[in-house]
Amino acid sequence: MKDTDIEVLGEDPRKLRRKKRNIQLALGIFAIVLIVIVLFLILRQSKRTSEITSTDETYTPTEGDVGKTVSDSLSVDTIPFTLEEMEINGNKYRCFQLVNAELELALYNDIDTTDTAIVFVTQAANIRGDNNKIIGDFIYKGDSMAKGCPNASTLGFCAIFGGKTIIGKANPTTFLDSAKNDSGFFFRQYALVNDNGFESFESEAKSYRRALCIKDGNVMVVESIDKITLSAFAEALFDYDISNAVNLMGGKNLDEWYVKDGKREVLFINTREPNPNRNYLIFRAK
């Protein structure tokens, strides 16, 4: 002890109280931070789990499905399709563009998951919820599976025959007969883009959207990564210089996958009861 020092004998109770208060405050802050971190981790985990659930829940890869190599005849220069992601009007999209592949339709019982030439699959025409039948005219390898153009939602169409893909909006259309006569394919859906511009829809419902499109003579499937309205989707396609587009089945409760580097990448799984009328748009590598 020096003459220049002072010492409070015994700890000052005020300081004790202050110290206790500070400790309590620090513990409180620590607890809050801990809770926030735990909540963040739980939310992240549940989001990851739900994503995994949505893709793995009902799809059980069988031997030969996943990891099958695409046909050896394909080289880098003959890739069946390209995949790119882009942003249009502030929303994100992915685009599967047909390169060295053919467009076809396939039915649920006909799709061969071991066929390595099938490199992209998504669902095409809508199915009625009450009777599980395909909505609108449907031609499958020249055979008529469904008839009619019940309403405006089915004025759009896609006809695939003789190596050609025609997208339009009309009823009747001669392309239906062409598909039938040429053992081709035909289905109906909402028209989104045609020579008159893009369609507008009343519904403000947002969902994951998909469309079969033609741009500069190239066939592509464009789908939204974000949920958007059908009107916004149609407009985006138009802004992307798509000349013709017809809707494909939307949402995420559908089968969709593609093959990349010889491995199947599953985007979505259809968890509904299997239905023989479930129909697919596929890219078949040449």
Binding site: K2, I6, G10
Partner: protein
């Protein structure tokens, strides 16, 4: 809250109510305990450091009322009235007090009666001041007074 400081000296035991202690001053190997409101001083043949230890160990709630200022002074902060840093002075004021004759007893561990005759000189300035008024002026280093001032400002 009232607590008692107990000091044993020889065969005697002294108990001081904590707030009766005005200040404690070291005097070589002795310590003078000055009682508030009177001129009574109890002197003990123990060093001031030991008294500081007694205060720390015995006064659980009120020990912090006492502040050791430098090597030779322990004051009761409740009686501090003025800190004059520039002049190196510390004034203690103990409110209503009685000016009574100073009766200084010096206790040693061995011979109480012999030491009793040894009184602090009545001419010492500190004694006179204590005898005539209830304000006590103490000296301390400027550095210590600055620290004391800062400590008391936190009150």
């Amino acid at each position: 809250m009232v607590e008692f400081l107990t000091i044993k000296s020889g065969a005697k035991l002294f108990r001081f109510e904590h707030n009766d202690i005005l200040y404690i001053e070291a005097a070589k190997n002795y310590s003078d305990v000055h009682i508030a409101g009177s001129n009574k001083i109890d002197t003990f043949s123990i060093q001031i450091g030991e008294i500081a230890d007694y205060i720390r160990s015995q006064l659980k709630q009120t020990a912090s009322s006492f502040i050791r200022v430098g090597k030779s002074l322990i004051i009761n902060r409740n009686y501090v009235q003025c800190i004059d840093v520039s002049n190196g002075k510390l004034e203690l004021y103990c409110g209503v007090g009685r000016a009574i004759e100073c009766d200084v007893f010096k206790y040693s561990s061995n011979d109480y009666d012999k030491d009793r005759k040894k009184y602090r000189t009545e001419t010492s300035p500190e004694y006179q001041m204590r005898n005539t008024n209830i304000k006590i002026e103490l000296s301390a280093s400027r550095e210590a007074l600055i620290k004391l001032r800062d400590e008391l400002l936190e009150d």
